[in-house]
């Protein structure tokens, strides 16, 4: 199994000159254009950009749901797209993910939705129960745990998705617009949870187009995508960018290596 955290100082995530396009010949639309960056373990990274900038594509590439046309994507030093088909599930177990469209079972309860992700790991029923309860508590959904997901509001469904991602305790958590359906109060709660996870050592990559998130979160680093290009990130230099976690270095810096 691919173990991310045990690799020590190895980058949690590394994009090296990655390009990805969609569409047919003659009508090719670049989704990511020569994107390069490194994320060290335990970092909280904010990935910003307008809709269609390539944030979701970046997450899909990390999950090996898409293939890049060019470049290499490494998670804990392992090239994601050189993994065999049978190894991909083990990569994904290390990448908790909250999708923009939640991807929940609408007729199942939050309890069942969270439980499903843990059953995949082959955990004991007792362990599954404990982790499910804790995860739902953390996102404030204990009282709604037995209500079918289809009867929950968008914000509540978003929190179920987050609880599911957190419950499996992955070393890396990817969140694609996790506050898209939430009011400021709940957004603060979710961001707080992600921040807490990061402080506990989880690498968090939060993708959002919402500029208000900047007021709620204090990321270690910001990556900004525009039309598939990594243009800037806080104090960062675009393109070949190394991100160092604030707690591991003297400051929150992004140092250009290109």
């Amino acid at each position: 199994m691919l173990v991310v955290r045990a690799r020590g100082m190895q980058a949690a995530i590394e994009f090296d000159d990655v390009s990805k396009t969609y569409g047919r010949v003659g009508r090719v639309r670049p989704a990511l254009d020569a994107v390069s960056f490194r994320v060290e373990p335990g970092s909280f990274v904010l990935l910003t950009g307008s809709s269609g900038a390539g944030k979701t594509t970046l997450i899909k590439l990390l999950l090996a749901m898409e293939q890049p046309e060019q470049g290499a994507i490494r998670v804990a030093g392992r090239d994601v797209h050189k993994l065999t088909r049978s190894s991909i599930p083990y990569l994904r177990r290390n990448l908790g993910v909250v999708f923009q469209d939640f991807r929940l079972l609408p007729n199942a309860t939050p309890l069942d939705n969270v439980r499903l992700a843990l059953q995949v790991l082959g955990l004991a029923p007792g362990e599954i129960k404990t982790r499910t309860t804790l995860a739902l508590q953390r996102v404030g959904l204990s009282t709604l745990r037995r209500k079918p997901v289809r009867q929950l509001s968008g914000g509540e469904q978003q929190r179920v998705a987050l609880a599911r991602a957190m419950a499996s305790r992955p070393p890396i958590l990817l969140a694609d617009e996790p506050t898209g359906n939430l009011d400021p109060e709940l957004s603060r709660l979710i961001i707080g949870e992600l921040d807490a996870l990061s402080r506990q050592g989880t690498t968090v990559l939060l993708a959002t187009h919402d500029p208000l998130i900047r007021t709620l979160v204090h990321p270690d680093h910001i990556l900004r995508l525009e039309s598939g290009k990594l243009v800037t990130g806080g104090t960062a230099t675009p393109y070949k960018t190394t991100i160092s976690h604030a707690s591991q270095t003297s400051g929150s810096t992004m140092e250009a290596v290109a």
Binding site: L95, L105, G122
Partner: protein, 302 residues
């Protein structure tokens, strides 16, 4: 993966498969019913073939030439004749049957239980030598052999089965071909039924499959519940078919057995033995699993 994790995963696969069946009882009943019809056809043909073969054997139709010894012929003479006949290249075997054994056989054929013909003196029956031929003998050989044997002093008469034996054998052979052909057709039909039903289930649960793949489930974890579902459909279909066939068998058994006792072939008809039932259930399950594996192959992969 540790054994404990593997056990928990297997538990999930089985329970999810069962829940999958419970979610759509109508569709599942349709699948099981269709498979049962297919399996009923197959089991009926196999049962007919098995019993036809048994009747032919019990009736003695597998013995093309029977030599009846003179009443005063000594057993040693019959045994010596059997040995001599066996030396002929076209002969597969020659066995001498003493009167008491022939009487026992007659008693079995009548199907009236032991002692039903106790008053008959075995000595009224002659000692016989049963002659079995090898396959591929020349045309007219049985007749020539019978003629030659009938000239021997110790032989009283020689019986040779006529063309109707060949017809009976052809009938059994036809049953065999029919059973094999039906077996093939039923296998295809059951596989297609399981495939189409599981494909529907896969399509209706595509969201769940997508989620499972995203959270890191292995291919076998995704496919497992569907294969369990197909396997159960096949097993249930076979079980229903066997149950129905047994009920029909019980209805017709007394009548058929009585009829066959008149032909000295009572007790020839039997239902499947427990091992055969287990094999048919296994066959149904395997077909269900095969169909579901094919259905889930294209739709559920990482």
């Amino acid at each position: 993966m540790s054994y404990r994790r593997l056990a928990y995963s297997l538990l999930y696969i089985i329970t999810r498969g069962l829940r999958g069946m419970a979610q759509n009882p109508l569709v599942q009943s349709l699948a099981v019913g269709t498979m049962a019809v297919c399996m009923l056809l197959l089991c009926t043909t196999i049962l007919l073939f098995q019993n036809a073969t048994r009747i032919v054997d019990d009736w003695g139709m597998d013995v093309p030439i029977t030599v009846y010894m003179q009443p005063d012929a000594a057993l040693a003479t019959s045994a010596a004749l059997a040995v001599r006949i066996e030396q002929i290249p076209e002969i597969r075997a020659a066995r001498w049957i003493e009167p008491s054994a022939a009487l026992e056989r007659l008693e079995r054929g009548l199907g009236r239980g032991p002692g039903a013909i106790a008053e008959i003196d075995p000595s009224i029956l002659p000692t016989t030598v049963e002659v079995y031929l090898k396959d591929g003998y020349a045309e007219g050989f049985p007749e020539r052999l019978a003629k030659r044997l009938s000239t021997l002093d110790e032989v009283e008469d020689v019986a040779i089965f006529g063309p109707w034996v060949q017809q009976a054998r052809t009938l059994v052979a036809t049953f065999r071909v029919l059973a094999l052909s039906l077996g093939l057709l039923v296998s295809i039909a059951c596989t297609v039924v399981a495939w189409s039903m599981i494909r529907l289930a896969v399509l209706s649960r595509h969201t769940e499959i997508e989620i499972l793949e995203v959270v890191g489930s292995t291919t076998s974890f995704v496919r497992g519940p569907f294969i369990v579902q197909g396997l159960l459909q096949g097993a249930l279909g076979a079980a229903v078919a066997l149950g129905l066939l047994y009920a029909i068998f019980l209805q017709f058994y007394p009548l058929l057995d009585q009829g066959l006792s008149l032909l000295f072939a009572a007790d020839s008809i039997r239902f499947f033995a427990p091992m055969e039932i287990a094999m048919l259930l296994g066959f149904g399950s395997a077909l269900g699993a095969l169909g579901s594996r094919a259905a889930v192959g294209h739709h559920a992969h990482s």
